[in-house]
């Protein structure tokens, strides 16, 4: 399953329970939230032992994008038996800051 827009690309590989995000622009209007919310529902419902969010190709995230990402993390947190791995990139300066905050959501 994938969502492709001019701004970003989200791809969900059911086999490996991995959601990969890429793009260099943030989310814009509310109409962009709906497909992502649906994808999030599908991902969280999967009975996988571990869900991976791969952000290594994600060059930019605006505040709406940060909020969207935290929803993923908070919903997975509610599922007691599911582990979550978030893969980021140290060479993308923005990720160091945002991921530190998102990590706190898991605590």
């Amino acid at each position: 399953m994938e969502i492709q827009t001019e701004q970003y690309h989200i791809c969900y590989d059911r086999e490996t329970a991995t959601v990969s995000f890429s793009g260099s622009r943030g989310l814009s209007g509310p109409e962009e939230y709906q497909p992502i919310a649906q994808l999030r529902g599908d991902v969280v419902d999967v009975e996988a032992g571990k869900i991976t969010l791969n952000l290594q190709q994600l060059e930019f995230l605006n505040s709406s994008g940060i909020s969207m990402m935290s929803k993923f993390i908070i919903e997975v947190r509610k599922k007691a038996r599911v582990q979550m791995a978030v893969q980021g990139s140290q060479s993308i300066a923005l990720q160091a800051k945002s991921l530190k905050n998102l990590q706190q959501c898991l605590l």
Partner: protein
């Protein structure tokens, strides 16, 4: 009427600055939305000229990348807010100014704001100025996650305080009476 909140400096421009201006009615909002990112990236790219990276020194390249990323993020958020809260009934222009100082950068974004929403915004600013940004940030993430209908992240200004340790200030000014037009200038100071 002029009202100041937080850390707002009124002084002459520094020697190095860049201003990008937008006329509110010239292009539809949707297309302008894409402009936010383009303008922010342009400001960030332009600024790196003043913070040259040395290919043989990885720390200078890291610093350059950090500054570029910070400018791109902050300018984009400020522009998104300005476009979002701009008073549609007024023709007051939106502009973003980036000033280069010896020890830092100053962003100022000016836009009009609906007289009906000024009070709400000022109460939010007052809360922002006295709260612990990291606590408020996490609270906001949890609140957004609990509310599926929320389309407004409410995180833009908070991330500037929390992630970039920015100093922030606001100036509200009545620029026209009858019909009333109120302009707000948001100032973000970043130490680099």
């Amino acid at each position: 009427m002029i009202e100041i909140f937080g850390d707002f400096i009124e002084r002459k421009n520094s020697q190095e600055y860049l201003i990008v201006g937008f006329s509110p009615s010239s292009i539809p909002l949707k297309q302008r939305w894409r402009n936010n990112g383009l303008s922010a990236d342009f400001l960030a790219d332009y600024l790196t000229t003043f913070f040259p990276g040395n290919q043989d020194d990885s720390s200078s390249l890291t610093r350059q990348a950090e500054i570029k990323s910070a400018v791109s993020y902050i300018a984009n958020e400020l522009l998104e807010n300005a476009m979002k809260f701009n008073d549609e009934n007024s023709q007051y222009p939106i502009n973003i100014k980036l000033q280069l100082k010896k020890d830092g950068l100053i962003f100022s974004v000016a836009n009009s704001i609906s007289p009906l929403t000024v009070g709400k915004f000022q109460r939010y600013i007052q809360k922002l100025l006295v709260s612990d940004p990291s606590e408020m940030y996490i609270e906001k993430l949890e609140k957004n996650a609990a509310d599926e209908s929320s389309t407004d992240s409410g995180l833009g200004l908070l991330t500037m305080l929390n992630d970039y340790s920015a100093k922030m200030g606001w100036k509200f000014e009545t620029v026209q009476k009858d019909p009333e037009v109120i302009a707000v200038t948001t100032m973000v100071q970043l130490t680099v």
